[in-house]
């Protein structure tokens, strides 16, 4: 480096923007590839089918099993209905998802990245479409290098057309989570759907096409924060795709010749299959790296080659850093049970499970009716002609069940107080009021409370609500009754 010319050369190679090296992943078959197929089918099915599942909630609520009803501010998920004030359940789910990822990472490494991440699943889908149109790796490279011709243009048009179709369907499926799916589809095709539906589909089509078709592994390597977090989360006991260099090195292409010459050789024949199948275009033999999403396709590729060579599988394998050290020294591997059940995973699982249980418990116990009373502050009180004092309140009763409910509003405290709601009047004032609250909504009633007692200037009491059906449920809200100014 002391030579100035060398420095200059290095400078010329460094740029702020690294040009993408095209990746043409080769098709491969094997145990992990089949697992990836299975997970892809399951996750895509969940994504596309969920909005079309129906769930009977009676006449007053939508019958879509999973529905995020933003317009009416309700979230339906099978038998669970969440109101905006219960949003902590969603927050809890997000926390569980986060801790679940921690758990997954500490137990099986970057399995999320390799199998279940939408970026991985959709990129995988796009890669298969590409292979279907352009052929496998070598054919793709040939086509990329070929001069522009009619057949090349046709293939490109078909490929991008299919990609766009998948992208439109991806964005299209998303909107069905937010409205009644069948009627929205109908409106969408007729051009009568709201603008936001078309805009959402447009944006998601663009992101799906760009991320899955064009950017692919660059999203994982440059954009996604998760690999950085995972790097920090992984330890010597986390599973990672590892090339066993102590077994593979030194690499040799001509093993027979090397044997004849007495040169020591490892199991790696440097066939480059592991590099060719890699969807992120890395060489796993360089060691663990941020570009590795642990999809294990290189394991499939290498196992196949080892099988052909008659050597044991697993030159590239899922092992922990600790295992790698032990195995390099010729010791047996740690049993799987010990690797999975260790303090870290147990703590993560306990937290995860505790939050889940707490949420289930609270879901089972939540009241489906509640009351809130808002006192008129202007005027605070009204003196009537016989000296009685009247306070006015706005009472809101929230019926979270999808059926109309009869409830009884009552007074707790202030024994001499009576109340009436419009259109009643003072003559009909009582200690209780009965009303019917519409299904899945909040009733709003103005209630007048009167008290003949001259004192005290300010008194506390509560409005109570009690559901009059079999299910029951009650709630109360504390308010004040004012009699004189300046108190």
């Amino acid at each position: 480096m002391s030579h100035p010319n060398n420095v200059k050369e290095v400078e010329e190679d460094l740029h702020l923007y690294a040009k993408r090296k095209a990746v043409y992943p080769k098709a491969v078959d094997g145990w992990f590839r089949r697992l990836k197929w299975l997970i892809m089918v399951v996750t895509l099915t969940i994504y596309y089918v969920t909005p079309w599942l129906r769930w009977d909630r009676g006449a007053y609520a939508p019958d879509q099993a999973v529905l995020v009803d933003l317009a009416h501010r309700r979230f339906f998920m099978f038998s669970i209905e969440i109101w905006p004030h219960e949003f902590y359940y969603v927050a809890g789910l997000l926390i569980m998802a986060g801790i679940g990822l921690f758990l997954l990472t500490s137990a099986v490494g970057r399995a999320w990245c390799g199998y279940a991440c939408p970026q991985t699943v959709w990129t995988d889908l796009f890669v298969h479409v590409e292979r279907f149109i352009d052929g496998d790796r070598n054919a793709q490279i040939r086509l990329a290098n070929a001069p522009l011709s009619l057949s090349k243009i046709t293939r490109r048009l078909i490929k991008h057309g299919l990609w766009l179709m998948i992208a439109v369907m991806t964005g299209g499926a998303w909107i069905f989570y937010f409205a009644d799916a069948p009627s929205l589809l109908h409106d969408f095709v007729d051009g009568r759907a709201p603008f936001i539906a078309y805009a959402t589909v447009g944006v998601l089509t663009a992101t799906t096409y760009t991320f899955g078709g064009l950017m692919r592994e660059q999203v994982c390597i440059y954009m996604c924060p998760w690999p950085r977090i995972q790097t920090a989360m992984m330890d010597e006991k986390s599973l990672a795709v590892t090339y066993k260099d102590w077994r593979g090195e030194p690499r040799s292409r001509g093993m027979k010749k090397a044997l004849e010459e007495g040169v020591p050789t490892g199991d790696c024949i440097d066939c480059n299959q592991c590099v060719q199948v890699c969807p992120t275009g890395i060489d796993i033999r360089e060691g663990p790296q941020i570009g590795c999403i642990t999809c294990a396709l290189c394991i499939d590729a290498c196992d196949k080659v080892m099988h052909q060579l008659g050597k044991p599988r697993g030159l590239i394998d899922y092992i922990t850093l600790l295992d790698a050290e032990e195995e390099a020294m010729g010791h047996p591997r740690m049993p799987v049970r010990k690797r999975i059940f260790r303090p870290r995973t147990i703590i993560y699982f306990s937290i995860w499970g505790a939050i889940g249980l707490a949420m289930m418990f609270s879901l089972g116990n939540r009241t489906r009716i509640d009351i809130s009373a808002l006192k008129d502050r202007n005027p605070l009180f009204v003196k009537l002609s016989d000296g009685t004092v009247r306070n006015a309140f706005t009472i809101k009763v929230r019926n979270m069940e999808a059926r109309p409910r009869q409830v009884e509003i009552g007074l707790l405290g202030m024994d001499d107080a009576r109340m009436w709601a419009e259109p009643g009047d003072r003559d009909t004032a009582q200690r209780t009021i009965r009303l019917v609250v519409a299904p899945d909504s909040v009733s709003k009633d103005r209630i007048y409370v009167i008290s003949k007692a001259p004192e005290p200037a300010r008194e506390e009491f509560s409005f109570t609500v009690r559901a009059l059906d079999k299910q029951g449920g009650s709630d109360s809200d504390k308010v004040t009754f004012d009699r004189a100014e300046g108190q």
Binding site: N378, P379, V382, K383, S385, D386, G387, A392, E422, R426
Partner: protein, 317 residues
Amino acid sequence: MAEKKRIDEPTGTETVGHEWDGIEELDTPMPRWWLFTFYACIIWAIGYTVIYPAWPMISDATKGVSGWTSRGALDAEMKAQADRTAPIRNAIGATPIEQLSNDPKLLQAAVEGGKAAFKVYCVQCHGSGAAGSKGYPNLNDDDWLWGGDIATIHTTLVNGVRQPNNDLTRMSIMPAFGRDAILQPGEISDVADYVRTVSHQQPVTGARQRGAAVFAANCAVCHGPDGKGMRAMGAPNLTDAIWLYGGDKATIVQTVTNSRYGVMPAWGPRLDAVTVKMLAAYVHSLGGGEALPTATAPIDANPAAAENVQEANVASK
């Protein structure tokens, strides 16, 4: 200066030509994107001043080719809003005030509209919560000078209180008993004591008997023999707990001595008929509204009756 301009060798940029103790300044050109944005802003600004009113002249300003004015924009907005509410306003306008409560939806709209209008026209005296203050009635309570059913409230609103040149205006004229020397100060004090006893504010005393005689001779004509008032005259009930000006002795003495002449504008000529109806509905909805008297012709439909009331008022003076 200019002769010192030179090309700086390491950067290839021209210098501005200044030099301070050997330190020179490069004349680095503006970034292209910045320059083009700047030019675009200039073009946009020229277009803007042509299209919109912009250049100040001696007594006016250029109008702009689009003819846009903020006043015009406001008018358009107001008109759009008026068009939006026109159907419900027309429906309210077509419904007689007595029948407004038969249609809950219409009544609700009228109350909401009245609430908004109240905030503009009425809060200055009656307060934002309609609770009034000394001399300005509280509209939430169940005590009404002229009546608390929706039609009567409407009549009061249309014609106002003590409005000149309005035959239907609410006109109650209590004599200034002290100022006009109808009663002596002692008699006034006695009658004030009497009024405070009938409203249970102080125990019966000797003054009560004297005051009762004064009351029967001077006040009972309008306030009634038992002091319960008379709505046709606008004479308040003196036995209840509500006092427009105050129920303490000094205030009552002052009221009897000088009388009180509160006023309210006649809203009929000032506001459109629908707004006045909505105001009536709102005031009626505040908690003290009374039911319509059964089988009685609405007062505003019978000017003759109202005139009689007024004549009675004048006669009582």
